[in-house]
């Protein structure tokens, strides 16, 4: 079998009446864009890391391959996500993010460890013989064909291209949605165990005793 990217490139070129649209470098660049976008939106590549907390330090660097935060856990609880703008209000507990930083509120007053679950970007393709990372399933490689066609045709303009590019974009978006569900439900039978949604208000009360008291 061809390498995955060469196969996808052949699919783009075969029968095309505009072969100049599918040059190696242009397509490789768009493959990388599509791969990055699909990884970020679907969070199909998950990673777990720990962040050691330092007294009086609220903000910490995110891992370099961080695409989006999926959950932050501390001392047995998931921390809620806060808006950056409200993170510094009194009595706020949670995490916030901006640039390449993650912040913990309130500012830690003691040492500890935060667990960060995040979706990461795949390693970019260096050339057309590069391969996808293991966590990006083979069944979804075809998404990149739709992504590249969408982008190239929208760049070309013209009524026919625009209509077709819309359909390609829909296919890509729907596929990313399926990939996201796939990533979230790799194990399809899990039910909340430790912390059911019904228990969450009580948890919040434990995290915010002063709020609870009001």
């Amino acid at each position: 079998m061809n390498t995955p990217l060469r196969y996808l490139l052949e699919r783009l070129r075969v029968g095309s009446v505009e072969p100049e649209l599918w040059g190696d470098d242009v397509v490789l660049g768009l493959f990388n864009e599509g791969y990055r976008d699909a990884c970020e939106r679907s969070a199909c590549l998950q990673a777990l890391t720990t962040i050691p907390l330092v007294i009086d330090t609220a903000e910490y660097a995110l891992p370099s391959d961080h695409a989006r935060t999926l959950g932050v856990f501390y001392n047995g609880f998931p921390l809620p996500e806060l808006n950056v703008s409200s993170a510094f209000w009194p009595e706020q507990t949670g995490f916030y993010g901006y640039d390449d930083l993650i912040g913990i509120a309130p500012t830690p007053a003691s040492d500890g460890t935060v667990y960060l679950l995040y979706g990461r970007y795949g390693t970019p393709f260096a050339d057309l013989d590069s391969t996808f990372e293991d966590g990006f399933p083979l069944e979804f490689y075809y998404l990149l064909v739709h992504y590249v066609r969408w982008r190239r045709w929208i760049e070309q303009g013209g009524a026919q291209h625009i209509t077709q590019s819309r359909w390609e974009r829909d296919q890509y978006d729907q596929g990313v949605g399926r990939l996201r569900r796939y990533a979230r439900t790799l194990d399809r039978s899990a039910e909340p165990r430790f912390i059911s949604p019904l228990e969450r208000p009580r948890l919040k009360a434990r995290l915010h005793p002063s709020v609870d008291a009001r």
């Binding site: 079998m1 061809n2 196969y7 052949e10 699919r11 783009l12 070129r13 075969v14 029968g15 095309s16 009446v17 072969p19 590549l45 998950q46 990673a47 777990l48 959950g71 856990f73 501390y74 001392n75 047995g76 609880f77 998931p78 460890t113 935060v114 667990y115 679950l117 293991d134 966590g135 399933p137 083979l138 069944e139 490689y141 075809y142 077709q164 359909w167 296919q171 796939y182 439900t185 790799l186 194990d187 399809r188 039978s189 899990a190 039910e191 909340p192 165990r193 430790f194 912390i195 228990e199 948890l203 434990r206």
Partner: protein, 177 residues
Amino acid sequence: VAVAESDRFVEAETRVAVDTLVFEKKATLDVDVDGFATLPSDLIYLEGLYSETTPLDPLLLEDYLAFLSGPGMSGYIGDSAYTILGRQLRVIPTGARTLTLFYWARPPETDGVTFTLSGPALSLVRHLKLAYQELDRGEPEVGAMEIAQYELDARRVRRRSREKRAFHDSLRSPLAR
């Protein structure tokens, strides 16, 4: 430029397998002392995990991580339970052991002549392959129509497979479940 037929069939068969979930497998998995094991590379969805004949409880990843991060909600730690992080299986309580797993799998690469899927699923493979071919050949309208039809048919096959499973489950006694 030509696209190899077998490559097209590989692409179509793997997508049909994930869209229909009709290909199941059983395997054993060695869990290390930390409770970690790498899932089989052809696993699409995990269906069930057993320690001998005892099923392990699935845990939401976020519940597992909450447990891992500290003592806050550690009230529950009953029988063995597991979660999945990326391609890694994590079992608690930790300790080396061998587990049996049942899962929906990705078929091995076809040569375009011999296929793993059969029956209605194999018809879908041929249908999808043709749809891709039409799309690539500069017939986007025909290809789009065929893809839409494929998606409807795939849903139907998947539903039928689920119904069959539910029927078989209903025949088993509650004690055997």
